[in-house]
Structure formats: structure tokens, C-alpha cells
Symmetry: C2
Subunit: 461 residues, 2 copies
């Protein structure tokens, strides 16, 4: 009922409640009939909840194309698991009916030894294609490419082009966009099929071309390509080599995955979790991520930050005499260093997100640092006023003076760290999100504690 | 050169360097010829860098459709700015040539008074349509909807359908997907145009239907609809009322914006910045966000957290006597509360991201809390071992015992806060990302400080 309210999916709505019963009573024939009318992603959802051995049986029952769609939507653990239950012949049939880009992705994610076994199962042409696609750098757009597009020669007539589409369009990943090439397979234009349909059939393809297209190089980073998709509102993008030979196309569904992955990586990295190790994605339920993987993703940063915190402790030790004299100073330590850290993490977050959206450039850093000085100064004064009363209440006017001065300086320094750190990581070709909140907080701790206790020593002499 | 390496855009590559010269020397005629061959987003980029008055001149020169595409890609400040330079007649012509969904978005973002003026400029039918689209709840999919789709009657022949497309397809937002309806405008199916093209023209539309479609309700939240798009790899989705009457369609380009916005909101909120107030998007350069807006977005949370930190200070004050006796205890305060906060922010980040990706459900909370106890316990022991040496070095075996016990308990408590807080916010219909790192860190401070000093008091008696 919940699902029905969220969206209307005719097929699943009618039948989902009965499916698990059919599986339990092993009514494979009925099951085949019912599931054959489902969408692949719904069957994938089902697979996440039932016994893998039942999945294997169902996978064998389904029409070949649907089976491979279902298979390509599964997470890589599940795929590996199922492959172990299938015979070589069955594996071959599934792999062969996958789209080339989904095949590349599968090979990418499986263990090397299994990938080699699978590639060996393929016929020569497909195996060559797979090795070629895997030859592009990791995270390059070449890895997401499919060679299943419709190419049209520029000197054909509209009628000839339509004939070609009717003949070869069935296997293409999309026929919404057609790619116009010359005899050397140079990309000349891309045109939407609507323009072909709306044109008179005896005219030439040339006559409806506008030589107006965007293409990306196969070596281009996937995140960069995602920005091109967004900027030009595209649903498919041709991929070429540096001489603008058409190599393949990339479609929007793969790009959405890239955007989500990029965001997940930024988001987790920004909290000092090694995102790659956890492997959050659309399919893997968080409760199924293995214990060990989570520990591994978290412990390195926790240890690094622990060591930095020990430095802060060392600084405090250096000021032990003033603390012993004015124990009340300790009660302001948390508010001073935390506010600095919070301000710093706020400014870092704005910079990191702007870098991801492409609305800030490397050269802006000096301007932004200057502006941050003014912003943080303003915030610092407000925070200083906020804490001043407590300085009186817990201490006296001198303590209040120390605390207010330290607050203003700390907020400024914390914020400046937050602005500059993402740029520094970027400069050294690291993800700017490595400037995580915990890292900024810890740096603010070290510097903030030092400044506070130094000010106290100087002013309370 | 930089840009050329990144992607190949035939038109801009050739001419960008000369454009600014043409503008400066006011060669409007040449400019019109050149820019008419450009993509709208590239002209938008150009507009961000030149004088608004030049933009107005260029906008008037461009072909109507291109002008409205350029206009719809601009940020809302710029749009408002340009509207002020144009006459009512010019404004009307631009607004009328916008796609209905872009028009809704423009009206949404402009000040109310300006929106009213613009709606009054529209002819009765368009003005009615605009008011209708604005009638859907904010952030509902209805607001992103366009009524410009191609609807096909189920009893037509393929030939009749193609004829209809040739006649009405030109104005549709997409003809890649066709929507099959009955005489009461009930949605019966959606079929890709490829199926129509590949079918024999004398067959009926009915014969190529599979009654296999996903549609969303117009009231559905945009983020939920984005998940439907992702799950089924769609490029367009029909929108219906609760009786499955077809109201319009939503296309993938608008959905990508939704995904990016959602991620920006999560990301900034998670660092205690009020995202809405900053208004980060694809177009607004971060350096152009006004000073005041940034202060406003940051100060509320900084103040709230400051007050919570004052509580931590109060707790320390309560333990002043033990601190005065063992000043060395203070040197471990940062490492203990920070590690707890860091562990908590790590666990929160995983939960929040999994909630955004839809790979965790409300009912999982109890299981995840239990597992977190084990994970955090393990991490706590490692961290305890890490800090134990410093306990000896700075203090003695008793101090070491206090610090190690406090560390283990603090990491566990910090992590549990990180797991449970996003669920609590979710339960109360707040964005789970409100469980920000600064908030978790501050809570971990309060509790961690209390526990540490309590343990110290008990064990060092």
C-alpha cells in the first residue's frame, strides 16, 4: 500500500503480494509467466530478498533479454554469487546478452580471476571488444561507452536512413539520437530522430544537418563528462578519439550513476570515511556491508586524528601552570575550539560544494580568503558577545576579556582553514572533500587551544 | 585550450576568442550571425561575463527560440535583472516562447509582484496553465511538469499515429516516448518511438502496446520521483492524477537538477549551514553570493552550538576540584571528546547517505544500533590502546586506566549518537542530514566530558 501511494507501477502493484508464495510453493511455471511481464529493476528488488538458489532458478526461467537486464542491475557481490551457481553455458548466455557497457562494468567489479574466466567464454569478437573497453583508464568515459548506436552516412537520403534504422535499430542502446559520419567514421553531426521523422523522405540527410554537436574524448574523466551532460541537457553523448572518430556513445542512465557515486564519495570522504572501502551504492543495503569493511573504512582516519589530538594535549601540558592557577579557563576550552571548528567546517562545505558544482575556480582562492576574513570576523564578534557574559559569570572581567579575544581570533582562524584546505588538496590533485569536517575540527583544536592559552598567559600575568 | 582538451564543442571552439571583441566594437550584425549557431548554455556562460545591457541587446537579436532557451538557463537574479531592461512586449515574447516547465520555474523564483505582472502579460490560456502548474505543492513533481507531450489514441493505426507525430511533434518536449490514452485521457501505456518506427504501418497501436508503464502522481515529492527515474532508467515519466488521467510529463534534465540540488542541500545541511539561504546552484558563482546571505546561513547554528558548548563548560566547572588536583586530565580532554565526535560523524554519514540512496529503512534502526555497538566497541578498543601509552607518559597507570576506559565508552556513545540521530530527525519529518557533524560533535562533547570526568572522579579517589 505504501508503495502504491508513492508511484503507480501497474504490474508490480497487482502481483507483488503473491510472488513469494509462488516461490515457496515452487510453482515455477506460473512464476515465469508472471515475472516475464515485470520490469527488470522490480525483479532485482525481489532477488535481494529471496534465497540466491531461487534467484538462479528464476534467472534461468526468464526470457534471455530480461534475465540479462535483471542480472546487470544486481550488485556485484550478488552477481559473483550467482555466477558460481551457473554452468559455463548459462554464464556465457547471460554475459553475451548484456549490453557492452554493462558487460564492462561487470568485468570491472568482479575479481580479476573471474573476469578472465568470463572473457575467455566470449566469442572472439566480443572478447576483443571487452578487452578494448577495459583498456580505457578507470573512471574514464570510455569505460561507460557502448558501441551499440545507429550511425548514418551523411550522403544518404532520409528514406535510406530510415531503412537503415528499421534494420539495425533494434539492437541499438538508443535510436533517439542518430550519429552522422563520413566514410572514415569521422563524426560530423548528431541529430535527433524527431528531425528525421519530421523531414520529407526524399531529401538528403545532409540537408537536415546543422553541424552542431558536442562530443567527449574517450579518456575524459567520468565526472567531467557528467558536467557536459548537465550543461547541455543531453540524454546521450558521442565519444570520440582525438581525431573525432566515433568510438561509441554514453547514455544518461550511466551518467546518473556517476553523479550519485561522486556525491556519495564527497559526502563520506567529508566525514573522514574512506568511501571506496565501504562501497555504498544504490543496491547494497547498508546493513549488508560487512563488519570488517566498515572498520577498515573508519579506523585509518580515526587514528590519524587521534595523533593530532595528542598534539593538542601536548600544548595544554605546556600551559599546565596557568591552568593550575585559573582552572576556570578549562571551562571555556570546549566552546572556543568547537566554535572555531564549526565555523571552519561551514566555510569548507561551501567551497567543496562549489568546487563540485563548478561555480568556483582555483584562481578565486585569494579573493575568497579575503572575504572569509571579513565574514569570519563578523561572526567572531557575534560569538564573542555571546560568550562574554559567561566570562563574567564564571570568572571576572579579565577572564571575559581573554575569552572574547580568543573567540574572535579562533573563529577567524578556523574559517580561514576551512576555506584554504580544500584548495590545497585540490592543488595537490586530491579530492577537495578530503578537507573533512573532522580534519578541520582537529586542526582548529590544535591552533585554537594554543592561541587561547597563549592569550590567557599574556593577559592574566 | 583548456576547454578544448576537456570536450569538443565544434562551434564554441572556433569562435569564442573573437566574441568579446565583437561585443566591444558593437558589431551586432556579425554577432547575431555567429551566436545563432551556438548552443544556448554557451551563450548563457557568455552572459555571465559581460555587461547586462549587452546581454539585453544580444537577447533581442537572437532567434526567438534560442533567446528563450538562453533566458531559461540564466540564474534567477540575472533573469530578474534582464526583465527590468526589457519592454513589456519583449518580455511577453520571451515568456511565451519558454517551455511551460521552464516558465513555472521562472515564476517560482521571481519575486511575487514580478510573477503577477508576468502572468498578466500572458494570453488567457497560457496564464491559466501557469496558474495551474503553480497550484501544485512546492517541490512536487507537478511543478516540473510540461503539458507538451505527444498523446496517441490506442485505437489508431501506426500510420495514423505517425501522421499525428509529424503534425504535432514539433512542439513536444520529447517524442522519444509516446503516451497512449483512451478517449477519457486515461493513460494506458507509454511506448518508445522506436517501437512505432520498427512496426508495420498498417498495424494498430494496440498491437504494439505492452501495458507496461510507470507513472507518478503530480503531488509526489520531486526527490521521490528522482528515485523512480533512477530505478527504472527512464528519460521521461508520465505524471497523472489519482485516477491515472495523464496530466503531463517530466523529463530527465529537470530530474538531474533535482538530484544535484538535493545533494547540495544534504551536504551543506550536514555541516550546519542553512542551505536554502545560501542558494548554491550550478550557475551562481560562490564569490557572487552576498555577504549578508552567508552570515545569515551560518550564524543560527553557530549560536545554537555555542549554547550547547556552554553546557559542556558547566559540566567541567562541576568537576573543578578533581581537575585542580590532576591538571594532566585536561590534556586528554581534546582527544577523548574529538574521537567520540569523529566516530559519531562517521557513523552518521553512512546512515544519512544510505537514507538518501534508499538502501536503509526506518525499521532497520534497531539492528543498525546493535551492530554499531559492536563496531564502535572494536574501534574504541583500538583507540584506547592507541592512547594508553600517552596515559603512562603524561600521567601514571591510574591516569592511563581512566583514559582508556573513557575512550572506549566515549567512542561507543559517540557512534551510537551518530546512528540514532538521523533516524530521530527522519521520524519527526526533518531532513536526516540535520544530524550534522557539528551537532554530533557537540553532543559527544557534552556527554563525553561528563563521562570522562565522572570516571576520573570514581577511579582516582
Amino acid at each position: 500500500m505504501e508503495e502504491e501511494k508513492k508511484y503507480f507501477n501497474q504490474i508490480v502493484k497487482l502481483l507483488k503480494p503473491d510472488i513469494e508464495e509462488l516461490i515457496e510453493s515452487k510453482q515455477w511455471h506460473t512464476l515465469k509467466e508472471v515475472l516475464s511481464t515485470w520490469y527488470a529493476p522490480d525483479i532485482t528488488d525481489l532477488f535481494m530478498e529471496i534465497d540466491p538458489r531461487d534467484c538462479v532458478v528464476i534467472l534461468r526461467l526468464l526470457p534471455k533479454e530480461l534475465a540479462s537486464d535483471v542480472f546487470s542491475e544486481l550488485d556485484s557481490n550478488m552477481q559473483e554469487n550467482l555466477l558460481n551457481y551457473l554452468t559455463d553455458e548459462q554464464v556465457k548466455s547471460i554475459i553475451l546478452s548484456l549490453d557492452p557497457d554493462d558487460r564492462t562494468q561487470l568485468f570491472e567489479e568482479l575479481p580479476d580471476s573471474l573476469t578472465r574466466r568470463l572473457i575467455n567464454l566470449l566469442p572472439p569478437e566480443e572478447s576483443k571488444e571487452a578487452l578494448q573497453l577495459l583498456g580505457y583508464p578507470e573512471n574514464s568515459i570510455g569505460r561507460l561507452m557502448t558501441p551499440d548506436y545507429v550511425a548514418i552516412k551523411h550522403y544518404w537520403t532520409i528514406e535510406e536512413a530510415m531503412e537503415h534504422i528499421r534494420k539495425f535499430g533494434r539492437d541499438a542502446e538508443t535510436i533517439d539520437m542518430l550519429y552522422i559520419i563520413d566514410n572514415h567514421w569521422h563524426l560530423l553531426d548528431d541529430i535527433p530522430i524527431r528531425r528525421l521523422i519530421l523531414a520529407e523522405s526524399n531529401k538528403s540527410v545532409q540537408s537536415i544537418m546543422d553541424h552542431h554537436f558536442v562530443s567527449v574524448n574517450a579518456e575524459m574523466d567520468q565526472e567531467e563528462a557528467a558536467k557536459v551532460f548537465e550543461k547541455y541537457n543531453l540524454t546521450a553523448l558521442p565519444v570520440t578519439d582525438s581525431e573525432v572518430h566515433l568510438l561509441g556513445i554514453v547514455t544518461i542512465d550511466d551518467i546518473i550513476d556517476v553523479i550519485r557515486e561522486e556525491n556519495t564519495e564527497d559526502f563520506t570522504k567529508y566525514s573522514a570515511v574512506e568511501a571506496d572501502s565501504v562501497g555504498l551504492d544504490f543496491i547494497t543495503k547498508i546493513k549488508n556491508v560487512p563488519f570488517k569493511k566498515i572498520i577498515r573504512a573508519r579506523i585509518t582516519w580515526l587514528f590519524l586524528l587521534l595523533i593530532m589530538d595528542i598534539i593538542t594535549g601536548g600544548i595544554i601540558q605546556g600551559f599546565e601552570s596557568i591552568i593550575a592557577k585559573y582552572v576556570v579557563l578549562v571551562t571555556f576550552l570546549p566552546v572556543l575550539v568547537d566554535t572555531a571548528g564549526n565555523a571552519g567546517s561551514q566555510s569548507a562545505t561551501l567551497i567543496i560544494r562549489a568546487l563540485a558544482l563548478g561555480t568556483v575556480e582555483m584562481k578565486d582562492w585569494i579573493y575568497l580568503l579575503g572575504r572569509e576574513f571579513l565574514i569570519a570576523g563578523t561572526l567572531g564578534v557575534f560569538m564573542g558577545l555571546g560568550i562574554s557574559i559567561m566570562g563574567f559569570v564564571r570568572g571576572n572581567i579579565f577572564i571575559a576579556e581573554v575569552v572574547v579575544s580568543a573567540m574572535i581570533i579562533n573563529v577567524i582562524i578556523g574559517s580561514l582553514i576551512g576555506v584554504i584546505l580544500p584548495f590545497i588538496f585540490m592543488k595537490f590533485k586530491k579530492d577537495p572533500a578530503t578537507a573533512s569536517t573532522p580534519l578541520i575540527t582537529t586542526l582548529a583544536d590544535i591552533i585554537g587551544t594554543g592561541i587561547y592559552l597563549l592569550i590567557a598567559t599574556l593577559m592574566l600575568k
